[in-house]
Assembly symmetry: C2
């Protein structure tokens, strides 16, 4: 089983509280951390959670509301002060670049490493990142300014060889790699042994989705299906629905319905309005529509 987890660094909506930071989280896959959003204080939260700065090479910013990116300049400045030389990849709305450039200029800082920008598009689902085991996509959300969610999806695992069957057909070791990749086996006499006969399916591909900030919209399911874990914003309870809709945010039940719409197995709700001192009622209301829900909280780590 691959290591695949998310650590919540901030669970608060726009105004942080004394205990809740604005939005940020680290998705880790095979011990490579991907930072998603970077509200004020994220660098302190990264340290608190003992995630090494030097391992963070990819940062995803969903949109340019301050509670999702005001911590970015502090983090990239600290990277610099600590001697970073490795390129940093930032996936973000294009306007982020001007903000970072101006702040670096004003503080007379020159980065000793390079920032590789990958500007987000907001009209469809796009592949942002790919390695041997993982793909990361952006997809459009519905908010008051252009906003993306992010999908982390494992690639298919290699099929597993059924050793007992291979013995029956006397298949040489040399053919194993091809069979794992899905090839059939052709015997000397031309007879074909199908891959389905020789192998069983690999481990399930896991997936994780980050949705913040967004109003409810049903056809988010055009972009997502069979998600193992969904993080969804839940700024308000149902009695604040009018406010939620005006601000293009989600309520408890919006988050729960979206979890159902995309076939999520589990839901974490976060991005709570500072008005909620106690979150138990928020959780209970969400559970009336989607039972397998948990509350985000600072420094909580969840395996996917």
């Amino acid at each position: 089983m691959n290591e695949f987890s998310v650590t919540i660094l901030g669970s608060s909506a726009a105004t942080p509280t004394s205990t809740r930071f604005p939005s940020a989280q680290v998705v880790s896959h095979q011990y490579r951390p991907f930072l998603v959003d970077c509200g004020e204080g994220t660098q302190m939260q990264i340290r608190k959670n003992k995630i090494r700065f030097s391992k963070i090479n990819h940062i995803f910013i969903s949109h340019t509301h301050g509670d999702h990116f005001f911590g970015l300049i502090g983090l990239i400045s600290s990277f610099n002060l600590l001697g970073r030389e490795t390129d940093l990849h930032i996936y973000a709305p294009e306007s982020i670049k001007a903000v970072l450039d101006l702040q670096l200029a004003v503080s007379e800082s020159q980065l000793r490493y390079k920032i590789q920008y990958h500007f987000l598009k907001f009209d469809d689902k796009y592949l942002l990142y790919e390695d041997k085991q993982l793909k990361i996509y952006s997809f459009p959300l519905r908010h008051s300014i252009p906003t993306c969610g992010f999908l982390f999806k494992e690639k298919p695992y290699p099929r597993k060889i059924r050793k007992e069957v291979l013995k029956i057909y006397d298949i040489p070791d040399l053919a194993f790699e091809g069979i794992k990749r899905g090839n059939d086996f052709v015997k000397e006499n031309g007879e074909i042994v199908s891959n389905e006969t020789l192998t069983s399916s690999g481990m399930d591909q896991k997936s994780y989705v980050y949705c913040s900030d967004t109003a409810y919209f049903k056809n988010i399911s055009d972009y997502l299906e069979d998600v193992d874990l969904l993080y969804h914003e839940c700024s308000f309870m149902e009695d604040m629905r009018v406010t939620a809709e005006a601000k293009m945010h989600s309520t408890t039940l919006d988050a729960a319905r979206t979890a159902n719409n995309i076939g999520a197995k589990k839901l974490i709700i976060g991005h709570f309005s500072a008005r909620y001192k106690e979150l138990e009622p928020v959780l209970l209301e969400t559970k009336t529509v989607f039972e397998n829900t948990i509350l985000a909280s600072e420094d909580l780590k969840i395996n996917i």
Copy 2:
């Protein structure tokens, strides 16, 4: 005795740690808070220390290194989200304005209150703020970019009337106010009773000085004298003197000597490099030159 205190919100140098925030502190005089510097996370620290956002009307930024102002945009955004309408006065280098303007534009935020900017000058001591009881001045420090320190100085207290003497001279109540202000009393026969005879001196005027960041320079005493409490940066211990001088920061003994040079009664050292996990050696080294020294730490409140 007037209420006059300083609360440390951040005691770290450029890179914060998991427990130490970058520079920020609140100087309070008669329960009016003045925010001095505003590193990342300041708004969370203000909340933690139960200082009301609505009472903060004056913010002083010493210079534009990020660890002294990256928290400003988050704070003024939160003021806005919480419905502030009162003007906010920011005393800062001029370039701060462009940074805040761009960030507000990028996040499509419009402030519902007005920011009154007061741009710092770096060539002399200047009066920035004055009310009935307090004056706040800037004065130049020596750092790698233009930087100011700040002096908070109480105005002279009214002289105290010596009631037993007033009885002897049979002085009418109507004359009291003038005597408190320093007037002599002229009797009907023209005889003058001097103010010194009639009054004793008022309470001592207290003063507080904030110095961060700066290299050591002796003629800081041109701007400051008889300071009750000095906060001075102390980024490094003596074994790092070469680094300190190259970066135009102070060591333990630089801070201690400055405290002596300006006749400080008490010294708080802060702005510690993240390399110092334990601060006791930093304190002990400083005390070899200036005994009455204490360590800054998050949420520490000191009466002046």
